[in-house]
Symmetry: C2
Subunit: 295 residues, 2 copies
């Protein structure tokens, strides 16, 4: 308890600051939605992983209520957004999706965790010698998914009131990781959100298993939302071209039990797209949901 | 300092809870964006008004930076949403609107504050005898706007680093209050957001001053975003019919300096609409914004 960053010290400082402020100006901190931070020491990734967990307000009339879980990549970027969306959309007077738990996974080494293969070729098709530290290491998606499956999910399921229904959501590198997970670890999640997946990675590596792993007419029983925005064109193609390829491929496969939707946002950029796309994705996944539903 | 609700006691309890939790499970509270609560004793409304204030993270390189202010009605419903949108959209890597201060005004007596006239006729054109307490009192918008102008704005401008540019935003009853403010107190704000304004109130009362107060070809120098959703039709008309009337009226007036946009959301309900509309409204108000802009 004596390290400089221990929670006791941080909260003593916070406590004093708030007390001083409140005496002077009758102010208090605004009480945001219920979220907490937990640190999971990962043996698989050989590092401590900080996790953000947002959970619905407990219903005192129904303390045994359980919730589906949305696992979100790039937690540091989109956790507030998804926490706010799931809270608002599940309010009694909005009520178009169920209350859910949002598990935000902030990055430590983003490219390592959110790419399936080793590559130093950047988005423009060039070796990324100018910024090796960002592009290397890469190719750690399998270990990252193993961390989620074997270390993160058991923690969440032990410590929170979860239902079995699980969503995996990501943007850009997180977008390919979401689809890669559906193809290679199909038992982990029930629904996937893939916002502008970086299909360009390593010569469109993730498009290849899509073709190979999905047998024509096979049964998948999944929900998938994917999309892209106005993101320009490079020598190696564009997000839009790749998404159209993926969409055609899925249609051609005539999979059974795969409910999917592709949406193109020409008015949005790569970075504004998540705001509209995460909303549309949640509405799509729960398009037939009624508050009496089990999932 | 000895009242049961004083901040010192509340934060002592919070502090102990957090400390206990962190010892047991290595958890900490998630650090949401910077927001605080202040109570303003209003002489005009003769009551204490709780106000939520969200402000951008201070830039240590530019501590004198000032921010536009968005004043938001129905603070208890949409403050989290607007705080998250303004934070996300002004991030360095998104950067499509400026950082801004969001001032959320939660309701005490909603119908009193957010309607311009006394009326007991409800949305279905019937006297609201079944629920008098909700419909009465009404007609207090003038006092509510006076509270904002004479008590709230001076507080915000004294205590926060504000720029002169101000936005007034509301939904439903808040929507007519936003437009009513533009018509009757035109010096208070620079831009207005009116999501599904309840033009049905009191025989379309707010549509009348729109016609009377806006002289054809006059100069307004304002920005206005208004919209409606799939909200059904009653004997007294519909949101959609009234919005079309308002839109035609504005077009006919040929006002100078009024940048306005009308958007119809057929896929949204009255309650899901704010999610997409507040986003579109912010993008519209700042459609030509560059990070070097003064406003």
């Amino acid at each position: 308890m004596n390290s400089p960053n221990n929670p006791l010290k941080i909260f003593t400082i916070l406590f004093l600051l708030v007390t001083l402020q409140s005496t002077a100006q009758k102010k208090a901190l605004y009480n945001h939605t219920s979220s907490e931070i937990v640190v999971i020491p990962s043996k698989i990734l050989n590092e401590d992983r900080t996790i953000y967990i947002h959970y619905p307000k407990l219903d005192s009339m129904n303390l045994s209520k359980r919730f589906p879980v949305l696992y979100l990549m790039d937690g540091e970027s989109h956790f507030d957004m998804l926490s706010q969306y799931t809270d608002y959309l599940s309010r009694w007077d909005v009520n178009v999706i169920p209350q859910m738990i949002v598990v935000g996974i902030p990055n430590t080494k983003r490219t390592r965790d959110l790419t399936p293969t080793k590559s130093i070729i950047n988005y423009f098709g060039q070796p990324d010698t100018s910024n090796i530290s960002r592009m290397k290491p890469s190719g750690g998606s399998d270990q990252f998914l193993q961390f989620i499956q074997d270390e993160l999910m058991p923690y969440i399921e032990t410590n929170y009131k979860t239902k079995p229904f699980k969503i995996f959501a990501g943007h850009s590198f997180g977008g390919i990781t979401s689809i890669y997970c559906m193809l290679t670890h199909p038992d982990m999640f029930n629904a996937y959100i893939s916002i502008s997946p970086s299909f360009w990675w390593d010569g469109e590596y993730v498009l290849k298993p899509t073709d190979k792993k999905l047998e024509k007419g096979s049964v998948l029983n999944k929900t998938l939302f994917y999309c892209d925005a106005n993101e320009g064109v490079t020598d190696t193609g564009s997000f839009h071209t790749n998404l159209l390829k993926f969409d055609t491929l899925l249609t051609h496969k005539e999979l059974k039990g795969l409910c999917y939707k592709y949406k193109y946002y020409p008015a949005e950029s790569h970075m504004t797209e998540p705001i509209v796309a995460y909303y549309d994705a949640l509405r799509f996944i729960y398009r037939d949901w009624k508050s009496s539903d089990a999932k």
